[in-house]
Symmetry: C2
Subunit: 262 residues, 2 copies
């Protein structure tokens, strides 16, 4: 801490998980940080980039688990910044896509704290790159809809939008409600055999792909289970997906249901 210096907060996108998928700007922000508050989904590889002299605090928030409250995180960031610290708030993916950047920025600026945002590679882009498909594809995947997989029994989804057959539907943050979502999409006219995939642990050693159809994905996900991040995509663009590098990655001894191509 240097109380005579003006503190500030950078909301930094850590990207999907691999340390070499953060941007140069994010790396420099980490290297200059006094304090780093990081989410549970930020990987050990990325955390290795934090200087030894910086204080690191996990403020994990995960789906249905116990988690650090947003108010507490906000107040912690403000306190450190006002004490002169360079604070990095490190988030998986990109801060502006389901990352609460607006809330954190508004709180901090209301407290007189300067805030910068450093964008990151979002999970959809990384999943597509790793598993050989493209989010858009001429003629068959003209649009991409990003939504959250936690829809509180469908209340927060616009089904007309999600049923757009020319869009790739990308679901962030959890797959717990995907069974409901898949049923609703099929009821609104998306074909049950629409290609669909779950990209599990993207850009981590445990990365795995489930490639199947809209009707079958929910069952396969439940069967497999996952503790890590799961990214779901639905649409014609998913047809191209495959896990070309599965054999090259380190993996646990019993890779049950790894890369199911069904």
């Amino acid at each position: 801490m240097q109380p005579d210096r003006e503190g500030r907060v950078a909301l930094v996108g850590a990207g999907p998980g691999a340390a070499d998928l953060i941007t140069l700007r994010a790396l420099r922000a980490l290297e200059a940080a006094n304090v780093v508050l990081y989410d549970a989904l930020v990987t050990a590889d990325v955390l290795m980039l934090i200087p030894a002299c910086a204080r690191r605090i996990e403020v994990g928030k995960r789906g249905h688990r116990a988690s650090t409250g947003q108010d507490f995180i906000n107040r912690l960031m403000a306190r450190f910044a006002k004490a002169g610290a360079r604070v990095v708030r490190l988030k998986g993916g990109d801060p502006s896509l389901f990352g609460r950047a607006a809330e954190e920025r508004a709180f901090l600026e209301a407290q007189g704290v300067r805030v910068d945002v450093i964008p990151g590679v979002t999970a959809a882009s990384a999943a597509a790159a790793q598993f050989g498909f493209s989010l858009t594809k001429r003629d068959t995947a003209r649009r991409v809809l990003f939504a959250t997989g936690r829809t509180a029994r469908g209340a927060a989804m616009d089904w007309a939008a999600a049923a757009d057959a020319e869009a790739t539907l990308c679901l962030y943050m959890g797959c717990g409600d995907f069974d409901d979502i898949a049923r609703a999409l099929i009821a609104r006219g998306r074909a049950p055999d629409t290609p669909a995939l779950a990209a599990i642990d993207v850009e981590r050693p445990s990365a795995a792909l489930i490639k199947t159809t809209l009707a079958r994905l929910s069952g396969l996900l439940a069967e497999r289970g996952s503790d890590g991040p799961v990214f779901i995509a639905v649409g014609e663009a998913c047809q191209d997906a495959r896990d070309a590098d599965a054999d090259k990655r380190d993996r646990p001894p019993a890779p049950a249901h790894r890369s199911q191509q069904i």
Copy 2:
């Protein structure tokens, strides 16, 4: 060229424009490249990262201008890779979002050429970070729809999807048809005073913001004109946007219509 070595192609996302917003993996791919084929929108700052010994070829494609054909680009990449070169195909933003990654990958793999994709920061994430808004926002911006601004008189848009009032609509690649798009959105029920913005030359020295409403954006864009990349967003999330750093950037002597907050 090293004809005894196996050539390969990396489709690399250059991010929005600033050299420090490419990923470490993209930087390493550039440093190892023998040949770099780059789009017109890749900035001089990013091109500076290419080693002096690498061959660089512009294969620009821009909206309504004369451009290099996709077939020609595909054949050129295959030819270099088969001659043993490490080829980087450098694209603005992320290759999987409106970047033709699927087409280029399919062509090259059919020719027996190994292809890797390195994801990048997409324009929407960068525009949000630079101009102080978030693409998602609890309660008011639950989803994000990525579409192209070139819709051939609306033929390629799903209007039910685009009219989703809880989504941030992000338009890539050109704003030539935005007048038609805005009228259609209003006809389908989006409020004329929905916040809307154009982020011009994101992460370039000439960056500028037009923040206004859905009904007025098209007129302001036409009045201003732009040669560079224009990213358009429509939705409640745009309400937070502002150009806090406008005064700090280098800019041309007569910054007419710069950062209009109307």
